[in-house]
Symmetry: D2
Subunit: 252 residues, 4 copies
Amino acid sequence: MTKQATTSIATSTADDVFVRGKSLTKDLIGKLTFTQMAFFQITGHAPTAGQTAVVDACLVTLMEHGLTPSAIAARLVYSSAPEAMQGAVAAGLLGVGSVFVGTVEGCAALLARIAASSDVSKEARVIAEEHRSAKLPLPGFGHPQHKPDDPRTPRLLAVAEEHGVAARYVSALRSLAVAVDQVFGKHVTINATGAVAAVLGDCGVPAEAMRGFALLARCAGLVGHIHEEQQRPTLRAMWEASDGAVPYDGST
Amino acid sequence: MTKQATTSIATSTADDVFVRGKSLTKDLIGKLTFTQMAFFQITGHAPTAGQTAVVDACLVTLMEHGLTPSAIAARLVYSSAPEAMQGAVAAGLLGVGSVFVGTVEGCAALLARIAASSDVSKEARVIAEEHRSAKLPLPGFGHPQHKPDDPRTPRLLAVAEEHGVAARYVSALRSLAVAVDQVFGKHVTINATGAVAAVLGDCGVPAEAMRGFALLARCAGLVGHIHEEQQRPTLRAMWEASDGAVPYDGST
Amino acid sequence: MTKQATTSIATSTADDVFVRGKSLTKDLIGKLTFTQMAFFQITGHAPTAGQTAVVDACLVTLMEHGLTPSAIAARLVYSSAPEAMQGAVAAGLLGVGSVFVGTVEGCAALLARIAASSDVSKEARVIAEEHRSAKLPLPGFGHPQHKPDDPRTPRLLAVAEEHGVAARYVSALRSLAVAVDQVFGKHVTINATGAVAAVLGDCGVPAEAMRGFALLARCAGLVGHIHEEQQRPTLRAMWEASDGAVPYDGST
Amino acid sequence: MTKQATTSIATSTADDVFVRGKSLTKDLIGKLTFTQMAFFQITGHAPTAGQTAVVDACLVTLMEHGLTPSAIAARLVYSSAPEAMQGAVAAGLLGVGSVFVGTVEGCAALLARIAASSDVSKEARVIAEEHRSAKLPLPGFGHPQHKPDDPRTPRLLAVAEEHGVAARYVSALRSLAVAVDQVFGKHVTINATGAVAAVLGDCGVPAEAMRGFALLARCAGLVGHIHEEQQRPTLRAMWEASDGAVPYDGST
């Protein structure tokens, strides 16, 4: 009846460490790639070769997006506190929230609903109509810049198909895309987060863990930005670009 | 003469994204693993097959250490603010600081000094003696639990040697280990962070970017802990284990 | 048509700084307390003497709660990264989320609904019944340890009444408490977060800014814990108390 | 021989909470201001009236500085993850590091050295000469915008003198200022962080806790910026101002 916190992920002895029952030195180091180990660490299952390829493709897709709010925040914090790179990475990851990656989870929930339905096309149409009538954004669809289509989407879906991973989530996404175009009366692109939701879902990643994969990818992206900041500091430029104090106008 | 912040990492157009000059959709997604892409993102160079294997081995080594302070902090924060997984990961990464990964950078600096010396054995001995006389901990050496030797070290060095990556940093580490045993008059293990410093150094990773690789690995580890917390919440147990208020004794 | 970020909070010249139109050196330093300045900074209005007393009482109430998850996370991070106290405070604040302070906002929303109603008692009863039938926790009510009543609640309400600040939010809270006892058929305490929601509401603090006041208070609490950790490190004890690795059982 | 984590700051019973031996409901709520409570929480001592006035003046001084990197980071993160205000505040505080507040601690260390010396003027001159010959920045001196003098400095020193708090740290700062002007052959202003270091030192705040007071002040400043962002979102403007991707030039 211990009240102690416990984990079943790892244990260690004097001469080895065990992660989910596997010897770190004998079974994992030199045997698994980062992506295989991360999948094993998070889900508890070693991925197949196809799942590994799909997860790698998702992580590569999500890693770098230029000077996003998250990257700017990381670089600003690094410039103010270079003694602690971890603080800069943490600040950047704090910006990987509902606006940018919440859509992955939101889309995954819709795809699960469609995949569980006995009439996939009908359920897809119901979802599209619900969002249209409530004027709600449809997670996984639309992109301000990539028109008419987000170029990352067909690549991700192709990787999933080539490796035999594409299954009911990808089918659900395709059904939903057809329904969206019909219901909205125009073509709306499936964006990269929609594709990620579908292919990670078909890899068996639970919706509530998907944000974790986005955080991994962005973590690497942020380290790249911080290293660029180490080599070419741009803080002053950013700060000056934003030094937009305006006279107080009396309002709050 | 723009004051604007700039990055040379990524640009995008309506139908593609370019990372360091490569097309995301044509050259990267489905072509690179996470580790290859992260190395490219951070250092600007595509890694060789050998460098990829070595970086994978380092990331696998550093990913999971059980209920470390960092993992506990992440799980506590997740339990208090489950609306924001990114906050829990950020809190955990904030604990990846000087005590736990600063030793990678400290060891890399010593190895660089040895590697740059005309008399490697002599420089290694000077360093060992400096630390012994000043009673300073020697970064990359010693481990409270893994005695007489940290089992991860020979595996990491073996991976570097098998793939032809081991070079002057690994040699410097071996020279330093010999000097340490002689100067301290007993066997002191090279620990995993010492081995990581050497093999990443021989992959061409700059010392100031090494903490970034540790953060990547730990990020995946933390997502695993948070997902375990989602499935089996242990907050109450941890909190009760720590509910150690003692009567105020009047001191500060 | 600037795209530049702007703020109307502060501007500065060579010989002064202006915050919301007031001279920092002539009007604010030495004239305002922290609480008055923070209220002015956040809401744009200088508080009355009564509002100041009430906000002070709320901040004093929320500052310190012993070894909460937030305080433990901050201390663990400080011990791992003592080079950056800001990282430890940040980690602790990341635990001030929906579970612990979200109830302030949730309660404030209910009180606003009651206060806006033409029949306060009826609306209070409707809310109590809604929560009872849906088996939802009622934000601002109940406490695991402080039974039958949270001792902080009557003090906070008394401070608000002594200073003539208590108005429609406090009345709404009292009506809701009567309704809750009737509908649930037993006495349920108003907890401290319920009282804070009511008295801050009567100070004119918008519901979406209330979490900000909780963060201020907890920030001071966390600095106290970190300073105690500087003087009496307890990391090892905490870590060992939590070193609860259990053999891997094959599940995820 | 418990290994359990402990704190001597707070304990609680069913009908009260005790902070450093004082009853929260009887002795603290409604009796202490935030500043008095924070000083008590952090240092373990209730401040005198004069110390309270001086700490209030420091907190008011440090609270708001316009669109600093820290404020921009907080606003960017809020815009990306509005579900978690605590993440935005945490991101902003992560930028309160060595560059911006490390100087408070650095200056306090120099003032302690002067105050402990038997010949104050001589020690001040030694310190000024050390920094000049090593071309090191002198913490607490100089300001890019506030020339010839930082207007906050005389106000803070005046508050400390009016309340009888100014003592050996303030004297040390004045001696150092005289020495700096002589040694550098020109007038260099004492900046606000130098003044804060001196007056907090004379309040008995240990150098290692001073960053904590800066974090409190900035926390309130950040909540103000986040609330402004809630009311007038400026993310898009900031992001566009910073959308400075330049063609990849082949370097790293």
